[in-house]
Symmetry: C2
Subunit: 299 residues, 2 copies
Amino acid sequence: MSTRIPVVAQLPRLTTNDVLDALRTAFTELAAGTAVQPPQTVMPLPGGGDVITYQAVIGDAYGVKVSPYLPQLNRSAVVTAWTLVLSTCTGRPLLLCDAHTLTVERTAATSALAVDRLARPDAATLAVIGSGTQARAHLRYARAVRDFTSLRMYGRELVQADAPEGVAVARTAEEAVAGADVVLLCTSAAEPVIDATALAPGTVVTSISTNAPRAHEIAPEALADLEVYGDYRPTVTAAACEMVLAAEQGMWSPEHLRGDLPELLTGGCPLASGERPVFFRSIGLGIEDLAIARLLARP
Amino acid sequence: MSTRIPVVAQLPRLTTNDVLDALRTAFTELAAGTAVQPPQTVMPLPGGGDVITYQAVIGDAYGVKVSPYLPQLNRSAVVTAWTLVLSTCTGRPLLLCDAHTLTVERTAATSALAVDRLARPDAATLAVIGSGTQARAHLRYARAVRDFTSLRMYGRELVQADAPEGVAVARTAEEAVAGADVVLLCTSAAEPVIDATALAPGTVVTSISTNAPRAHEIAPEALADLEVYGDYRPTVTAAACEMVLAAEQGMWSPEHLRGDLPELLTGGCPLASGERPVFFRSIGLGIEDLAIARLLARP
């Protein structure tokens, strides 16, 4: 006997709202204890590089995402990610999914969920810093949670002809964020790309993780002047480089994290007070990958 | 784009010697540090049960075995196991394999590797305790490493008509092991099935792990009178129930473990002295699953 299961490389049938709803459910179940999110594991490889695994359970689906980081001779690296979903009813595999596209979607949707809970209801001006795949996905998901009337994007090599429709290209990051209600940082920078403390009180800034060593998009010392949230309390403060650096230097403490997504979605933490700029940092979780992958496994 | 990879449910092309050679290579590479065997992880499920993951790297293959244990309403449990193999050259999946059959083969072959290193060259009498799938696989692999002339098997419900060809069915476990050079314990017992200390010096006894809670096949207090080996030093003493119980009761210590398979295969530990009975305990390792699965992934 030799059977085959589908290996999915794209997300053919999912709308922005499908993905947002799936993530809302996942984080709400995580808050309720009916979903499980263990810490990721990192296994070093003998020749250099490593494999990170992210597990999670939601409902009757178990998922493990396996992401090898494989340095090459020319100083580049091959990075892939695959998500295997098993049924916790039958114990049998439902799907093996190329997690590359899926990772982009879930990362952008997670930032948008935070924007939905933290930004003013009438937020009108959106600034996106970065112009790559993540930046464009962030733009798409953010527009699904607020009716932005002014859209700006800044990327080092971005010109107006290459910008998404309706988006004005800024000449500098500072120009992009001036007066913005929401700022989405979507770079692989290893040093600050904006001064978040210079933003107006109530402005929401999101920041993501990349494979870059010590990646961080705002200055560690800025944290003390911001209302700081993260994707998941048990993991974010130990993994977000600006939080680690700020804690090492005694400028901030994980106790100052105001809340995470499970809390934000279930009333378990204070919302933004409007007195300071707001910072939301995501690292990425297996439960986000599974939330989307299990949609693809449905018959 | 949507591609498919093979899901293999059987081991169609592998001989006993293929499997033994693959495991020899794996344990030798583990000794040399060119293969990697991290500890397994156990993730509890919200509704009861758990998922165990076993990772490993050998050569240019990374493997993760995922094994859910899913209790059912009727007090039984669904237990499955799936091995996903990725290339560490391309980062792409090579194979998703039903690990059930594979687990039987690698467990039996691992015991046989130990017999090969620990038993007398002229070992002639083999006793197998248990008559299930593991017992029959153990018989097959043990015969590949020694020319046994007398084969005995004992199982609670085993009758001669159901015994493998050339195997004499014993009426009791004691009858089966009397005068045996090699004794293979292949039960899911949670209490001792033989008195290993009563065996002749130099007799080799192997014992495996099952899903049974607190599974152990010899008495903890017997360990002090045996020359004790395990499959892998970093994991076996913390997982083998008789070793844990003996250590708790101060009757034995992990320091008394004479060696493991990487050491046995590379001259890194003393062989059996012939002065006492010998006990080899295996728990099962991800590297064993990968050693075989990667053979199946070869074009």
